[in-house]
Amino acid sequence: MVDGAKLIAGGNSPAPDEGPSGGDKAMQRYSDGDDGAFSEVYDDVAPRLLNWLGRHTKGDGALAQDVVQSTLLCMHDARGRFIRGARVLPWAYTIARRVLIDALRKRHGEVCLSSSWIDEGVEPEAEGLADAADAARRMANAFGTLPARTQEAFSLMRAEGLSLKETAEVLGTTVTAVKLRVHRASKALHAAMNAVVGARGA
């Protein structure tokens, strides 16, 4: 479950742009011919993708596993074209996102990577389960009114912990665009939280 209040406060803060991760180095080695390194790539990428996909597939485990499998096989097929120094995680998210969009389109005819990750099942921190459920509903409603691209950007940065640059890479847009979207989402959620606090105080 995802705690909306923590996310607004930046509880799951995006990772700073540090050096290459274990997964990045493993993918480099795999690309250079070390076949055993793919297991490390899997360990770095698969759990995070499954977690992210679990939210966007509304708990459809089979679909999430299919998408992860397709993603990893795509990465394997393209190993010879992996750019030296590139990051593997945003690449994996980008592929998974595209595979998921295609899978959802085939099933439902249209695609919406929506706001299912903020839901009424959030663990209550405020006193009173009813208050917490109400707060969660208001935040979910506020989040749900945002454009899908804004929701995606916020979700990738706050829930998945990707950096601005990585999020921009996954979404195929610029860092400035991601900053704007995340700012809009934060503003909407802050307003929803303030409304909840205001209602309690009244």
Binding site: S31, D32, G33, D35, F38, S39, Y42, A46, P47, L50, Q65, V68, Q69, L72, L73, C74, H76, D77, A78, R79, G80, R81, F82, I83, R84, G85, A86, R87, V88, P90, W91, T94, I95, R98, V99, I101, D102, R105, E110, V111, C112, L113, S114, G144, P147, A148, R149, A168, E169, V170, L171, G172, T173, T174
Partner: protein, 224 residues
């Protein structure tokens, strides 16, 4: 955490599917692109190669050097992905597509206008020979480059393909410019700019079908 059986299944599938390493992929790409480039140059030489046709040396050198610099920038931006597997941002690709034809045309006309009579109309040179020469030189390298990059442009395959077309088209412009003495604007539009724009269009179509990882690139995400 995914279970062990899931991991084993994926690793088994990966072991079953051959996939070239970086060195192998680079070697194959280099051979393919080199063959295409040689074919392209062969077309150029068969059609006559570099021809002065009364142009001053400084005019030829100036247009060639300027076009070469612009083409180099277009090729680097269009053909190389930078440091990210996601490729260049769409703003860079769109900027490249918009700027390349105009920049090349502007340079050619401006530099040629500095030499008396060099921007005059040639009655029997409407531009169709340049058009076909440009297209025939572009096709091989564009197909080779797109093929070597198959399934690598996840986010904007059409745009990426168009950018490849812009880079290749700009490179071919340099050679056709050395062959063609005409700097009359309508001739340049038909014989030099139009093939470049067509290369972008063809690159975009090829990109949609070859560069993306799955279905046609016009999938839309609806907002709810």
């Amino acid at each position: 955490m995914p279970d062990r059986a899931f991991k084993d299944r994926i690793l088994a599938e990966v072991a079953r599917r051959p996939s070239p390493t970086r060195r192998q992929a680079l070697r194959r790409s280099a051979v393919l692109v080199a063959l295409a480039a040689v074919l392209s140059l062969a077309v150029f030489w068969i059609r006559g190669g570099i021809r002065a046709t009364g142009r001053p040396d400084l005019l030829m050198i100036g247009t060639a050097v300027g076009a070469f610099c612009l083409a180099a920038v277009a090729l680097v931006l269009g053909a190389r992905r930078g440091r990210s597997m996601g490729g260049r941002p769409p703003t860079v690709l769109i900027g490249l597509l918009l700027a390349t034809p105009g920049a090349l045309l502007l340079w050619k006309v401006l530099w040629s206008s500095g030499f008396a009579g060099m921007t005059e109309r040639w009655p029997d040179r409407a531009g169709y020979r340049c058009f076909w020469l440009s297209l025939s030189m572009m096709l091989g390298p564009l197909l080779a480059l797109v093929f070597t990059r198959r399934r690598t442009a996840v986010n904007h395959p059409g745009l990426t393909g168009a950018a490849l077309g812009a880079g290749i088209g700009a490179g071919v412009w340099v050679f056709v410019d050395l062959w063609c003495p005409v700097a009359y604007t309508p001739h340049l539009l038909i014989g030099h700019v139009l093939p470049l724009v067509l290369a972008m269009g063809l690159g975009s179509v090829l990109g949609c079908w070859v560069l993306g990882i799955s279905s046609p690139c016009w999938a839309r995400v609806s907002t709810k």
